[in-house]
């Protein structure tokens, strides 16, 4: 998956658990867990919301890594 995220680190910085983060973002704890594991790519709205909660730019949490196979 070319989308990498640092949500877990950002959440640890805030000192909150997945359930609390989910509550703040209006999603379930499971969804936060899925995003952190890289099993789910959030919508732009949710990504911006998470960035707002962490008080960082969205790029500080999510970044897109170009897949080398896709270029060819």
């Amino acid at each position: 998956m070319p989308l990498v995220n640092h949500l877990k680190e950002q959440r640890a910085r805030l000192g909150i658990n997945q359930a609390q983060m989910g509550k703040l973002a209006g999603v379930s704890r499971q969804t936060i867990s899925l995003i952190e594991r890289g099993d789910y790519s959030p919508s732009v709205t949710l990504a911006l919301k998470l960035a707002q909660i962490c008080q960082v730019q969205v790029e500080d949490i999510f970044s897109y890594l170009e897949d080398e196979d896709e270029e060819g």
């Binding site: 658990n17 997945q18 209006g26 999603v27 379930s28 704890r29 499971q30 969804t31 867990s33 899925l34 995003i35 789910y40 959030p42 919508s43 949710l46």
Partner: protein
């Protein structure tokens, strides 16, 4: 150069489609021919018919007991599933480790999903068992004691359906207790919509993916079942009702899917 590639791909697609149709025709021919042979020429055909008849009669005579066994099995499964869900709920309240939380929630989802499947299997089995004797002709022609057994079977059938309905409500209520954000009254006709609206985007995506898989499965299965129903009608005069029913389902599923896609696109254009 690009155009040549496209043309080549087009020709391959048409050729592939032609070969699939040819294979389907050959298979259909063998199927029809084989069934015709079984029906008219071979003693095996009569044996199959006799075996099917014996199976139906066997089930019919034991309908009450089979339905009773299914009812008991349904109770055992449902109570076990609810007990497991309650145990997971208690462990979820105490757990602090996130990985353990993920595992427990997965276990909960699995039990909930399997219980849904089991409920549907019991309902379908009950309908199949009952259908072996669900005929006015049968009730009119059997002895009194057989009619009473049939009536008792009907009572068990109704109680099983009531129990499954209550069981589903209990399971949903348990889930709603664990996840208070999940909304919807299980007894309401709008439950599915209310439940979906209370899901977040990741949960909705999982539901949409599951729904699309179910649609693809149905749309692949329907032509096969319709073809089988047509062959059975041609060889064994099973009646056109099965073909009509399948055709209606086919039409409704296709129209609902296409209409849903078009309306979604239309909403975005407005």
């Amino acid at each position: 150069m690009k155009k040549d590639k496209v043309n080549k791909r087009k020709m391959n697609t048409y050729l592939k489609y032609g070969l699939i149709m040819l294979a389907a025709m050959i298979f259909g021919g063998f199927l029809g021919g084989g069934m015709s042979y079984l029906n008219h020429g071979a003693p095996l055909g009569q044996t199959i018919q006799d075996a099917a008849q014996m199976l139906v009669l066997g089930i019919r005579e034991r309908m009450f007991f089979i339905l009773l066994i299914l009812f008991v099995a349904c109770i055992i499964w449902n109570e076990w599933a609810l007990h497991q869900m309650k145990a997971i709920e208690q462990r979820l309240e105490a757990v602090e480790e996130e990985d353990e939380n993920d595992r427990l929630e997965y276990d909960l989802d699995r039990i909930y999903g399997i219980t849904n499947i089991v409920h549907n299997i019991f309902m379908i089995l009950d309908i199949l068992i009952l259908s072996t004797s669900y005929s006015a002709h049968y009730i009119d022609t059997v002895e009194d004691w057989q009619a009473y057994f049939w009536l008792a079977g009907m009572v068990v059938f109704v109680i099983t359906f009531l129990y499954i309905g209550i069981g589903q409500i209990r399971v949903i209520k348990r889930i709603q207790r664990i996840y208070p954000q999940k909304k919807g009254d299980p007894a309401s006709r709008k439950f599915a919509r209310q439940w979906l609206e209370s899901c977040d985007e990741a949960e909705k995506e999982a539901i949409y993916q599951g729904s699309y898989k179910a649609y693809m499965c149905i749309i692949r299965l329907l032509p096969i079942l319709t073809a089988l129903a047509m062959v059975f009608q041609m060889i064994w005069n099973t009646g056109i009702m099965a073909i009509v029913m399948l055709a209606i389902v086919w039409m409704v599923v296709s129209i609902t899917y296409c209409k849903g896609c078009m309306m979604k696109k239309g909403e975005k254009l407005r």
